[in-house]
Symmetry: C3
Subunit: 361 residues, 3 copies
């Protein structure tokens, strides 16, 4: 068990289970974080075991052994099979029990649920719904994460609070001026904001010409004291995957020639009260410069983990389990992205649950 | 955020909200503890933000931003306005939103509830009910806390347990002989106890002539080895504010000529399970002697925080959420004060809630 | 208060109380751990105070004072009487209040429930049901624990998880090969297992001839590199008391001439989610060798507390409050002991509760 193994969450009775979109792709882990040791995680209230077979293929199966309910993700690999840490039953990547080490050795005819898992863009994407509906073309495009041109710093955090609050935070960058001193800039408050929707995809666009960038971004781009044009688009894909396409450059530069700092912010609910936070930001300059990467990683980790997460945690606590809309929030111009995303997600969950009910009838 | 900022309490669903008297004055903080930084507190299950405007006037408004539910008390002051720590909306002392830093800057027509707040006797008193009914003549008299003649040591503690258990503790000083070795004296157990009620006010009187004071009090009054007369009256005001009027002196001295050590013990519920504990004890000798004050403060803080609080916490846990009377407590002679206070408070809450229901019909 | 005093458990409302067999003997403590100071414990959701009178007789009475609900087990002894830590009422071993230190000193005519307590085999056995039904001949035989021939190492641990999961663990030694590297041996997986029931008593027998013992046991018995015969019987008595009769020796040795390492594993529920774990293992060689004892104690404490307890805690969490059978566990050959024990216990509790209902009608 490595330090990547979070503790098994405390007991949560059925009545406290969250309301989630199950037929969707969620980030399960950074691909590099799943090595030869399996991992135990909880996604959407369900325990999951992640492991790689001998060919290096990553698999996700239900994380609770059907024998005595031990956490399979705390087990060990025997070749391509995951061995339960308690009594040694072994499971393959289809979830089937394939070995029983005990007297007579009869292998129980049992399978645990398998969750489709796709390794793409240096991430492991998990489908928590019906396997037959898992279509990997629905995985949002983060090709830059895997391209050698881009040098990305990245992180994983365990965040208290509902995952939609984390989406709201990314879709409204105006919070930067109040939460992130090093990232404050006129662009977020008095700059232009536009919101649009393309099918179930939501976009928020911030544009602001000929003004100073934030201190932190100026340091990364070496533009201190020089006014720049800024163009930032956030793309939201349900349930909670964000591409933050940040670009800046000399006034008058066409958007496609600006310097880019693309980011991923992906939120996967552990429960309705806690969220796995995966983030990355890349640059296409100073590639391979480890010192530069360290400074950038530390600054971003500080912003996300020590500035965003505490306030979102407190928001979650102050909501005291209430539904977001029941609390009748004031809606400001900057909220349009988050509001659209919430509406899309609600509709998708409603449709999914209606479909489940029809199928059950 | 200073160390005076407690964490936002964990989620408490509506069903777990306590039963409180709302139209009443509670101590919100020591006045000195509210400086240029706002404070976030929870009183009676409700989040509250405390802050001072540029004129130094203290205000209390609801502590949850109506935009995205961030803790206003973790915000910052901009002149006389409290700026939300998340997206920068600003609020004045009437609870009105007065500034929107975002695109176009239209100020939402929104107010958060305001709680009447009075600075008196070096304390901030908050009214958690209907503002129109807040009558500051109802604040119990603690004039001595503000008079230069009296040198007071004081403290604030965060105490696990229901606030009425803390009132019981002050109204029955007999516990001293078992809980506070340094404060044990015959006066508390075999001395005379009298209880009376004046309207909704409850009094407990302990008198005991010509006997040794406790070790701790003897040290403070320099009466070691000398028998003294003792006269101690506790005045309870609903919901949980206590004036402990302690007096002692040479045998035969008239009560009004005894040496006094007046105390405040004020309890403000955070929730039904946790209590803000405000205390002070003053003397009119060795005034300004900092060394004397330090010894006195440390001794009293030890008694209240390390002797009283753990046992009251355990009582609270052993009650396991049950109503006090449902557990059918044995009533001893010393309980008459606490029992009367409980009855008065129950009646006041019943009346208040009946009034609310009538107003709603 | 010594380090043997666990904290009073957090509030558990009536609805969350567990389902327990009350008319049965549970281990309350190691006799040596109850000295001149009383102890506060919680068994079967009920607070209990343990104390010894001046004759050294151990008593168990309800742990919540009927006056103001303070934890009696945190009190002090005054002669043979337990004095409440809050207001000084005193109780004797029959649960009767026998002294009131307050004004006039009238002793309230009140008794707290008394729990029959028997000191036997160096253990204190408590009966949490009807005192009239407490028959000490029902205490399972652990005579070896008290015989000078046997030198026992022992321990007490506070274990998260339902107590039946701890019984399952002892009744299926096959887990050793996966959970305890130092105790792994062929005997537990491919050796012969037999299960039988004698009345309400359940037995599991492991036999395996002419093979290597585990590394840890080989070190204790100095049999490294030599094959041995092994005979191990676990005797379960309801609710959760286990005698693990471990024997090994040169191939062909009759069972009654093998070297024995008898063990006790007794589990007493604090609540449905936490368990008091009492264990001991004895040897009849190297008796009095303190160095040998220390090595043995450390190795066993490590196995039980750092290898068993974490995985059982996780199993408990993954069960999320569900009934064991509702989760439809796969049953393997090694589970027969645990399954029988669960069935017996369920029947005994059903019968007890049916009897209670009949008595109430």
């Amino acid at each position: 068990m490595t330090s990547l193994q979070p503790p098994i969450p405390p007991i949560r009775p059925d009545a406290a289970r969250g309301r989630f979109l199950r037929n969707a792709w969620y980030v399960a882990a950074w691909a590099d974080d799943l090595g030869e040791e399996p991992l135990a995680k909880t996604f959407l209230d369900d325990p999951v075991a992640l492991f790689r077979d001998e060919a290096g293929i990553a698999h996700a199966i239900a994380g609770r052994c059907p024998h005595r309910f031990a956490p399979l993700g705390h087990g060990t690999m025997v070749g391509s099979h995951l061995q339960c840490p308690y009594h040694g039953l072994r499971f393959d990547g289809t979830g089937a029990c394939v070995f029983n080490p005990h007297e007579k050795g009869i292998v129980p005819q049992v399978s645990v649920p398998v969750y489709p898992l796709v390794e793409r863009y240096r991430l492991l994407w998990i489908w928590m719904g019906e396997p037959a509906r898992a279509d990997d073309t629905l995985i949002p495009d983060f090709a830059w994460l895997a391209e050698p041109r881009w040098d990305a710093v990245r992180g994983t955090a365990y965040a208290e609070g509902h995952y939609e609050l984390y989406s709201d935070n990314i879709l409204d960058l105006a919070h930067a001026n109040f939460v992130h001193p090093a990232l404050a800039a006129n662009s977020w408050t008095i700059g232009k904001r536009q919101f649009r929707q393309d099918g179930d995809r939501v976009y928020a666009l911030y544009t602001h010409a000929d003004d100073f960038l934030s201190e932190g971004i100026s340091a990364i781009l070496s533009t201190q004291g020089r006014k720049q044009d800024l163009w930032v688009e956030i793309r939201w894909d349900a349930p909670a995957t964000h591409f933050l396409d940040f670009r800046a450059g000399e006034p008058g530069t066409p958007v496609d020639q600006l310097v880019a700092l693309p980011s991923l912010h992906a939120f996967t609910p552990e429960t309705a009260d806690a969220t796995h936070y995966f983030w990355a930001t890349a640059r296409d300059f100073a590639v391979g410069d480890e010192g530069f990467s360290t400074i950038m990683r530390d600054a971003l980790a500080n912003a996300f983990e020590h500035e965003d997460m505490p306030i979102i945690r407190d928001v979650h606590r102050l909501m005291a389990g209430h539904d977001f809309w029941d609390l009748r929030p004031i809606v400001l111009t900057g909220d349009s992205g988050g509001v659209r995303a919430r509406r899309v997600l609600k509709r998708l969950i409603d449709e999914e649950q209606a479909g489940d009910r029809m199928a059950a009838e």
